[in-house]
């Protein structure tokens, strides 16, 4: 790669040969990540569309399904993600200021928060499994019919709620897993000292991804857990 015909200026090893300046390279990377997040909005958007339509049609079943989720675990998980977003934002700041140890610590904390989120999510899924709320042949919403006699529930429609619940939280969790992977990569390179105040683009765009996954959850939480928590008349 050293035989680039155009060596316009002196630059560090992090500048890839086809860019003219570090500035151009960083802007390109950041724009690329934002565009990718745009596609992610549409990816989740397909499910939000399904959610919106079924929620309109089957509000009772959605309300009952929502009540069966553990709202406190959901709240705690939202807080866990918000904390992780904070550590990411502080991490980017540490990278900007060249504080290597702090950066590594913050990245590691983020990963721990990520695992905490996934762990709590796992507990919730396991509860659903025990309650036979996983759509399919063994699905049963008898408990919901029993617990919420005031709500008229059609058990087959109830499956739609849980199908969407598992699809949305499942794909969100998959994004979390990928995020944890990305952050493990970042931690490793941060540990190696690759990131300097002049070059921390990977931390920055990895952070953008993490914040986006957080935002998706910020919407999933009220849409799935808080559909109708009003006291039953």
């Amino acid at each position: 790669m050293s035989d680039s015909p155009i060596a316009v200026e002196e630059h560090g090893p992090e500048l890839r040969h086809h860019f003219e300046t570090v500035e151009q390279q960083r802007n390109a990377a950041s724009l690329g990540m934002w565009l990718f997040l745009g596609t992610e909005i549409m990816f989740f958007g397909g499910m939000f569309c399904a959610y919106l339509i079924y929620r309109m049609n089957y509000f009772n079943e959605f309300a009952a399904g929502s009540r069966s989720l553990d709202v406190w675990l959901g709240t705690i998980n939202t807080m866990v993600l918000i904390c992780s977003s904070l550590t990411v934002a502080l991490g980017v700041r540490a990278a900007q200021m060249g504080k290597r140890t702090l950066l590594v610590i913050l990245l590691l904390t983020t990963i721990i928060f990520g695992f905490a989120f996934l762990g709590i999510k796992g507990i919730e899924w396991y509860d659903k499994y025990k309650e036979h709320h996983i759509p399919g042949t063994s699905f049963s919403a008898d408990d919901l019919v029993r617990d919420y006699p005031q709500i008229h529930i059609d058990q087959s429609h109830e499956q739609l709620y849980f199908s969407l619940y598992f699809a949305m939280t499942g794909l969100h969790a998959l994004h979390m897993v990928i995020g944890v992977g990305i952050f493990a990569f970042l931690t490793f390179h941060a540990w190696k000292g690759r990131y300097t105040p002049n070059y921390y683009t990977p931390v920055e765009i990895g952070g953008l991804y993490w914040h986006f996954v957080d935002i998706v959850w910020i919407y999933l939480f009220p849409l799935l857990y808080l559909i109708d928590r009003r006291p039953l008349g």
Binding site: Y58, N60, H152, I153, D154, Q155, S156, H157
Partner: protein
């Protein structure tokens, strides 16, 4: 004239002519446009082909032209849109008092049942000059009921009713196709529409082995399932009195209002808690999986028979035109 090489199928319903008229209009427009563009290209290509010593003349463009050739086509398009929309609106608005035929599609056959109780498979007998409304549903995947000679087509969906209507104008036998890909024998899911003179049709109707009208079958099923315990026809029981309900707006418990159409009746049988009528408790059991599509059709026909459309009693009065 085009017997050996036809350009369109037989024109055998009141709607077919309208569709063909728009089609011919569009063919003319499309031909005019393509011929105009092709001629221009050919003329320019020949007139301005490269010659020694003659340079091309640089032209920047013209906003006036751009606006002209955006707005003019848009005007024409709006005419086409409006024309097509009118046809579509007619096609999707069944006239009151149409004879009803229930259609159940399954891989890979059409099951049809007349109001009078006649059942047919892959074949539909209809009289000339009478409005026929098809109320269709599918037992499995999506199918599509397509009669080229009538220029009509409607997808048939599992889990709900879709409707289609026509008035045949010419006796004959016409193709019935499944137009939505539905699996292995999709191309075998074909049949015929037999359009008959009204007298022949009456003869055919009385010659069948019908076991009572669809509505009376429905009434039997209604009794067997124990529906009258709650849905009483004299007073309001624990369930709503169904007399005169069909086709009217219904106030629901959650404040919404829906029209009691075929789909509403269907949903109310299969999933009663979905749209509970205001003032009633959701105590009706779910019949999803307990009644077949045919029984469901009979029940819907029965509920409809409790609300006869005004002026539609007895034989349909209109005479065929041709």
């Amino acid at each position: 004239m085009f017997d050996s090489f036809p350009l369109w199928p037989a024109r055998a319903s009141t709607g077919a002519g309208n569709v063909d008229a728009l089609y011919i209009f569009l063919v003319l427009i499309a031909s005019f446009m393509s011929v105009a563009i092709f001629t221009m290209i050919v003329i320019f290509a020949l007139r301005y082909r490269r010659r020694r010593g003659i340079e091309a003349e640089q032209i920047e463009g013209s906003t006036a032209l751009e606006i002209t050739w955006s707005v003019l086509p848009l005007g024409i398009f709006m005419i086409i849109f409006a024309w097509g929309a009118v046809i579509y609106f007619k096609e999707r608005t069944p006239p009151r008092g149409a004879t009803e035929v229930y259609v159940v599609a399954k891989q890979w056959m059409w099951k049809l049942e007349h109001e009078e109780g006649q059942r047919e498979i892959n074949e539909l007998h209809v009289p000339v000059g009478r409005d026929v409304k098809l109320i269709m549903t599918s037992q499995d995947v999506i199918h599509s009921f397509y009669i080229p000679a009538f220029r009509i087509k409607q997808d048939v969906l599992p889990g709900r009713y879709t409707t289609l209507w026509f008035r045949a104008t010419k006796p004959g036998i016409y193709h019935l196709f499944c137009a939505e890909y539905c699996g292995t024998q999709h191309s075998g899911m074909i049949g015929q529409i037999v359009v008959m003179e009204p007298t022949q049709y009456e003869a055919w109707l009385s010659g069948g082995m019908a076991t009572g009208s669809l509505a009376s079958n429905g009434q039997n099923i209604f009794q067997q399932l124990g529906c009258p315990t709650c849905h009483r026809s004299d007073v309001q029981g624990r369930g709503p009195n169904l007399v005169g309900v069909f086709g009217k707006p219904v106030l629901l418990e959650d404040g919404r209002t829906v029209i009691a159409d075929e789909n509403y009746v269907r949903e109310s049988i299969l999933s009663p808690s979905a749209k509970v009528v205001s003032g009633f408790k959701p105590i009706m059991p779910v019949f999803q999986g307990l009644v077949s599509e045919e029984q469901l059709n009979a029940l819907v026909a029965y509920v409809k028979s409790l609300s006869p459309p005004p002026g539609a009693a007895g034989v349909k009065p209109r005479e065929p035109k041709e």
